[in-house]
Symmetry: C2
Subunit: 143 residues, 2 copies
Amino acid sequence: MTSEDTLDALVDALVRSTFQVTGVLTRIGAENDLSLTQLRVFGILRDRRPRVTELAAYLGLDKSTMSGLIDRAERRGLLARDRNPHDGRAVDVFLTPAGRDLTQRLYVEVRDALAPELSRLRPEQRVQLLRLLEPLLDPAAAR
Amino acid sequence: MTSEDTLDALVDALVRSTFQVTGVLTRIGAENDLSLTQLRVFGILRDRRPRVTELAAYLGLDKSTMSGLIDRAERRGLLARDRNPHDGRAVDVFLTPAGRDLTQRLYVEVRDALAPELSRLRPEQRVQLLRLLEPLLDPAAAR
DNA sequence: TATTGTTATACTCTATAACTATA
DNA sequence: TATAGTTATAGAGTATAACAATA
């Protein structure tokens, strides 16, 4: 197998595993009335308190799209807005306690859903996979 | 690091790499006026000629959603419908030559977009990653 | 003037329900 | 009766353009 073939096969495997994980995330989201994007929003807010524009940039979305996403989650009491104390134009976004609880529950659900697949690997293979994925994760890309 | 910690870190890395690859696919799709779902449709049709319901099942979507997706792509001349010769109720879906060309171009774009990230791994590491991803890919899950 | 955020608008994606045609 | 597909409807996700408020 040439190095070119490996690249093709690897891209294929990467795309397929992406769709597989996306399927799990989409299902768990749907069971909690959350879209994949909302799931991402909650993941980001887990340890950050960004302004609207920052959040949109993380997700690669327009700020107007962000407004709608925040509106709907805010209406459900899962997250909240607050004026940024240092810049009167900016609005900070953060999880409410209810949103934080939900995020924690979602995280456990995702882990439990992926664990069976990952158990097909031996423990030392799991460590290996982790080591191989890490270099691929662009620090600029948000979760 | 305990095995429990590895699982947590691995799930995290897997989800993050999923969003990263999804970002690439979404961008390339958008540049060609295609949604992520349309991209998947084209990937599936690349080597299959399923009926509407089969396609919907692959994607985990309702058949009515499928009708709309097919409509829009058909209007653009990228795919076509045909009566299934063995079952008068069923409709087969397949790529037109234009759709096939586009799919091929998209594939190359995706590979070229992911190649730089993958080049952070040494050749033998890429082979290793491929070997580790393969057991995770459920044959039941479509691309 | 430039930036931050919201709103109006239009289109795609999605599911549910109701329908037609075929098995 | 059951299955395959379409259509009507409604809501979420998305971007573009126009706007108000602040820097």
